[in-house]
Structure formats: C-alpha cells, structure tokens
C-alpha cells in the first residue's frame, strides 16, 4: 500500500488538515482526524512546481493537497507533475550553463551592436527640425554649468566665424548650424558640438592653435553635427537604460540605478567610434574645402601637448574623450 503525508486544505476555509493520503488501485483516499475523502486517482492534478517548493495536488472537490516528500508522492501516485519547457531547462545544469552563455553573448551583442544600430535608425528618422529645437535648451543647460562668456575681441572671432560658415557651406549642412564662443575653466582648450547643430569653441582653444588648425577642429565638430552624434548618444543612453531596467527589474529601481552607473562611466569610451567618424568626416571636409588635412594633425599635436600627453605614445586615459591620439594624428597625416 502506497501513501504519503500531506496537508489538506478544502478551499472553503483556511483550516489545515494534516492527513495521510493512500493510493489503492485507482482510488486515492485522504484521511486524518474526522476527515475521510475518496477520489479517483486520475482526477488528481499534480500542479507544476518551481524549484524545491512542495508538491501541490488539486483535487476534484476544490481542495488542495500539499506534500513535501516528492519521492513518496511520485511513487504512490505515479502521475508526473505538469512540466513546461522552463521547468525542464531549469533542472539541467547543462541547460543552465547554456542559458548563461546565451545571455552573456546576447547581452554583449545587444549592448554593443543592437542598441547602437537601433538608436541610429531612430535618430535618422527624427526630423532635423525637432533636433534643432533641442539646441537652445541644451545650450542653456551647459552654459549654466560649464561655460562663462567669451572675452574674445570681435576682430579675433570674426575671421573664425567666417571660416566656420565656409566649412558649413562645403559640408552642405543647414545654415542654422552656428558657432558660439565661450570660455570654460573646466574644459580648457576645447570645442564641443551640441545636438541641434550648435558648435562651441573656448577662448583657450582659440589662443592655443593657429587659425587654420582651428578650422580643422571645427571641421571635426561639424562631423559630430553631420552624423547627428548628439541625438544618437542620447538615444543609445535611453535604450541602454530601458534594457538594464528590464533585466534588473528583479531588484527594482535600486539595481537599475546601479546598472546605469557603469553605463555612465562607459559613456566616454563609447563615444570613441563617434570620434573616429567625426575625424574621417573632418579630413574629407578639409580636402573638399581646399584645406589640408595636416592642419588637423597639427591641431591634435598642440592639443596633446597642452594636455601633457605625449602625442607619439599610445597610452591614453580611460576617461579621456579623445583617446588614441597618436593613431588619430597618424591617420590625419596619411590622409594627404
């Protein structure tokens, strides 16, 4: 005679009846205290379990049998628990290792390739006018934290603005693309492209490089504008946040925040392909505008010296936004 110990819950009250379930032929009897029930063995449904939670059996009277001795239930009842695909995968360590490998590889591919590709497609479908509307807001935001007004005399800035207009025309960019002069203690000698086609150049950069070298740096920034790097970076960031939130949703908002921190640190490094694209664009634009790509190499050399990085060495700071300086200079020189 086969049997197992279980708790019986009738489904009409929350009373717990400790019972002994016994299987004889095709009959299942459930007995304990004043309780004595009998069912057909085939009428019992063994519910799917997750992990090592107790076995649950739904009875035709709406009652529930809960037993912890899975082996005894299996042996006496002989009805397999309903098991889905997930249950079968979870109970094989090889399947778990396979799933882990799949998730790691898939996560890698999604993070590095699928998200950028998707973000770029969306960015290209956004009308230029919508992106241009972002410009003033972004400018006000960076003005508040990064910049102070420029102290350049008009006779210094006017020729630079003229070079800029020439480059914009050669690049075939909309005339709304504009140049702003600012000074920044934080950024030092630098140039920045904002979404919506606003290029900012700092006074210290104007003081550091020659006029034609500055034009080469502006060409690089116009590369960011032309390739819509601002909007693409924004969208990549949003999509990455969405995916991390989905994966780590388990841990709630907490983990999404932690997950977003490394992403924020990586932000500087994933802009590297953007820098390469902007470089290639700049070298091409300089040639088309009748200038020399070597101006760009010269500008990079000067910037490198100003940042106390040896332009001929390959070492670069992880947080530097312009890594691999030597490589970039080499490419600019070869472009001749």
């Amino acid at each position: 005679m086969n049997g197992f110990d279980a708790d019986y819950f009738d489904g009409r009250s929350s009373r717990c009846h400790p019972v002994r379930a016994t299987v004889e032929g095709t009959r299942l009897t459930v007995a304990g205290g004043e309780l004595a029930l009998e069912f057909g063995r085939d009428e019992v449904r063994v519910l799917p379990t997750v992990g090592h939670t107790p076995i649950r059996m739904a009875l035709p009277d709406g009652g529930l049998l809960v037993a912890s001795d899975a082996a005894a239930v299996d042996e006496s009842l002989g009805i397999p628990a309903q098991a889905g695909l997930a249950r079968r995968l979870e109970s094989h360590s090889r399947a778990i290792v396979f799933a882990l490998a799949g998730v790691v590889a898939g996560g890698w591919a999604v993070y590095l390739y699928a998200i950028p590709a998707m973000a770029d497609r969306v960015a290209r479908s956004i009308p230029a006018a919508s992106e241009a509307a972002l410009g003033p807001d972004t400018l006000a935001a960076v003005d508040a934290v990064l910049f102070t007004p420029s102290k350049l005399a008009p006779e210094v800035s006017a020729p630079i603005a003229e070079d800029f207009r020439g480059l914009v025309a050669s690049a075939g960019l909309p005339p709304s693309t504009r140049l702003e002069f600012r000074e920044s203690k934080v950024l030092g000698p630098n140039a920045v492209a904002l979404p919506g086609g606003i290029v900012i150049v700092t006074d210290s950069l104007v003081g550091l490089v020659e006029r034609r070298e500055l034009a080469a740096v502006l060409a690089h920034e116009l590369g960011h504008v032309h390739e819509r790097h601002g909007a693409r970076a924004l969208l990549r960031g949003s999509l990455r946040a969405l995916v991390s939130a989905a994966v780590m949703g388990d841990l709630g908002a907490l983990a999404s925040l932690a997950g977003s921190t490394p992403a924020w640190l990586l932000q500087a490094s994933y802009s590297r392909d953007f820098e390469d694209e902007a470089d290639a664009f700049a070298l091409d634009l300089l040639r088309r505008a009748g200038r020399s790509p070597s101006d760009f190499a010269a500008a990079l050399r000067r910037l490198g010296k100003a940042r106390e990085i040896d332009p001929d060495s390959d070492t670069h700071s992880y947080w530097s936004t312009h890594p691999g300086l030597a490589e970039r200079i080499r490419r600019a020189e070869e472009a001749r």
């Binding site: 708790d7 819950f9 009738d10 009409r12 009250s13 929350s14 009373r15 717990c16 379990t49 997750v50 992990g51 090592h52 939670t53 107790p54 649950r56 009652g63 809960v66 695909l85 997930a86 995968l89 979870e90 109970s91 360590s93 399947a95 778990i96 396979f98 799933a99 882990l100 799949g102 998730v103 898939g106 996560g107 999604v110 919508s130 992106e131 509307a133 972002l134 807001d137 006000a140 003005d143 934290v145 949003s238 969405l242 991390s244 939130a245 989905a246 994966v247 780590m248 949703g249 388990d250 841990l251 907490l254 983990a255 925040l257 932690a258 997950g259 921190t261 490394p262 640190l265 947080w319």
Partner: protein
C-alpha cells in the same frame, strides 16, 4: 528573538526558503527565454519568479502560491512599455512637454493602481484560499490626487525644461518641486492605507491604523540626512579628487551607491515597520516587522556592488538574500492559537473576485 511576549500571545515568524543557486537557474533560464523571444516571454518569466518567491515564503506551517495569468500580464506590459517609450522620447526631445505627459500618467494612475492591486490580491493564495481586494476607483483617486499638484503648478507657473536663470525661473521650478515633496509622504501613507485597508484574506478583512504624521517623520528625517550626506560626500570626494582624480571618481561611485543604499534602506525599513505594525486582520491577528535600517543598508550596498561588478549576474543572489532578511524580520501575532483563528477564516460566499483575472486586467508592476 529574546523579546518577552505577553502571556497568551503566540508569534509565528515568516520564513523564506529560497536558495540563491536554485534561483539562479530559474532566473537565467527566464532571461534566456525572454531574450530569444524578444521580451514576449517576460510575463511567463515573471509568473515563474513570483511562484518561486511565494512558494518559498512560509508562515504558520503553510506557504503562499501565485496564480497570475501570463497573458494578462503581457497586456499590461505592452501598455507600460508603450507609455514608457513615449515618455522617454518626449522628455528627451521636447523637455517642455514633460509636465503634460506626467499629468496624463497621474490621471490614469488611480485606475492602474486599483487594477494592479486587485490582480495581485486575487492571484495570491495561502492555505488554498485567495486574497481579495475591495478598493474602489474613487478612493484610489483620493489617495493619489496630491501628486497632480506638481505638474499642475508647473504648467500654471510656466516652468519649462530650461535651466533656471532668473528669480522667476527658480520660483517656477522650486514651488512645484516643494509641493511634490510636501505631498509625497502623505501619498505614500494614503496608498498604504488604500492597499492594506481594502485587502482581505478569504472573508477576513485587513485593517490599518497609519497616521500620516509617521510618514512625515520618516521622510523628513531621510530628507535631512540625505541633504547633509550629500554635503559630506561632496566635501570628502572633492578633497580626494584634487589629489587624485581617478581615486576621486572611484570614491564618488562608491559614495553614490552607498548613499542610494542608505536612503532606500532607511525609508523602506521604517515604512515597512510602521505599515505592518499598524496592520490588523479580522480575528485579532497582528503583524510585527522589525527591519533594521543599518542591516538593510548593508545588504543593499553589497547587493549593488555585486550586481554592478558582475554586470547583473548577481541579481538572483541579491534578491534571495534580501528576501531572507525581510521574511525573518516579519511575524504574525495572535492572542491564543493562530491555527484556531486561521481555521475560522472562510471563503466569501460570493467569490466573484476569482473570475476577475479573466477579464481585461493588468499588472503594471514592472
């Protein structure tokens, strides 16, 4: 626990029996299937996860069970995903419209909150009896309406996404923010009152005694501590960063995680203790929650570090250890034998709630 209970009082501690290694298998298979189905499997994954956590949570000799229908959850998720995507795009590209989107979300929230609470209650069971939720739409709206002050004031004062430059800009930015901060503890309290006070286990209703002042005490203390903490962290990290920017960045990251862990641990543990402490069930059953903010903060901080350093693979370990701690700090108390009290609870005559899950029901908790 060394606490001496009054004579006749019986205490049953909750227990979580989940295992990090076992849950890792469930979690990674869930993630894998979700990935290869481009997210469509996620409701099934959620149900498996919930069944694992419910099934491993024990009190008074029995465990819980979850019965949610993945298809209902899928409907809710598609809705939530569309809304979130719309919000993200709108707020990135049209910062001025963000208040409008926020207002629409708040207008829809009573319905979403009520549906979600009912879905979760009706699909949870203990001892083969379902939970129920009797809260109405009106009460949900009454609970959340102060949140609408924030965007309404923002729109009225003409605040836009711009960085403030004039005094008026600052005023337009700060007043709605202050209104939000001032109403937030009340809204949290009102939502707890709504969700617990309208819940039932079988025919046994839950009741809650939760003064809003307790919520204000918690959030004001947390706000002051966060403010002072930010200054202290800023000063220390700033000094270190002058010496070595790299160590400064590393330290900033650690301080950032620690700050989040401490803030969430403090508010969550205090709110949970107060809410459970004020909860009663018909038949004189009380809840006792003894979460310690410091202990929980340590758990959260280690969780965050582990999750960040493993690119998320430590999530199962983190959630299981958190569940262990939360369960072991929660207990049921009754005068006299709890089994007798529980045995008296029956299924309500009209069990209409059981069928509600079949209708258009959503579960929005992501």
């Amino acid at each position: 626990m060394n606490e001496v209970l009054p004579a006749g009082t019986v205490r049953h501690a909750f227990r979580f029996e989940g295992d990090a290694r076992e849950y890792f298998g469930i979690w990674i298979v869930n993630l894998f299937l979700t990935m290869i189905t481009l997210g469509l499997y996620s409701p099934w994954a959620k149900v498996r996860k919930k069944r694992y956590f419910y099934g491993n949570t024990w009190v008074a000799g029995a465990n819980f069970d979850y019965h949610g229908d993945p298809v209902s959850i899928l409907k809710g998720r598609l809705l939530a995903f569309a809304a979130f995507a719309a919000y993200t795009v709108v707020s990135e590209f049209y910062p001025r419209a963000a208040y409008g989107v926020l207002l629409a979300a708040i207008a829809a929230s009573p319905w979403l909150i009520q549906r979600t609470l009912r879905f979760n209650a009706v699909n949870s069971s203990y001892r083969n009896l379902r939970f129920h939720f009797h809260g109405g739409l009106r009460d949900a709206a009454v609970a959340v309406w102060p949140l609408a002050l924030w965007p309404i004031l923002g729109l009225l004062l003409g605040a836009d996404g711009d960085v403030p430059r004039t005094a008026w800009h600052w005023f337009a930015l700060i007043v709605p923010g202050l209104a939000f901060a001032a109403s937030y503890p009340r809204v949290v309290g009102a939502l707890k009152r709504y969700s617990v006070g309208n819940a039932a286990f079988g025919d046994a209703r839950f009741g809650i005694d939760l003064p809003y002042s307790e919520m204000y005490v918690i959030y004001i203390a947390a706000g002051i501590a966060a403010f002072l903490g930010l200054f202290a962290i800023g000063a220390v990290v700033g000094l270190v960063a002058i010496g070595s920017p790299k160590i400064g960045v590393g330290l900033f990251w650690l301080a950032y995680l620690g700050g989040i862990a401490a803030f969430l641990a403090y508010t969550r543990s205090r709110v949970a203790n107060v809410v459970f402490g004020g909860t009663r069930m018909a038949g004189g059953v009380r809840f006792v929650s003894t979460l310690a903010a410091g202990k929980l903060a340590k758990i959260y901080f280690v969780n965050l570090l582990a999750v960040a350093c493993t690119f998320g693979l430590a999530v199962p370990w983190a959630v299981v250890r958190t569940a262990h701690y939360r369960a072991e700090q929660l207990a049921l108390e009754s005068d006299g034998d709890l089994d007798d009290v529980l045995a008296a609870i029956a299924r309500p005559v009209s069990a209409a709630g059981d069928q509600l899950g079949e209708m258009f029901d959503v579960d929005l908790s992501l």
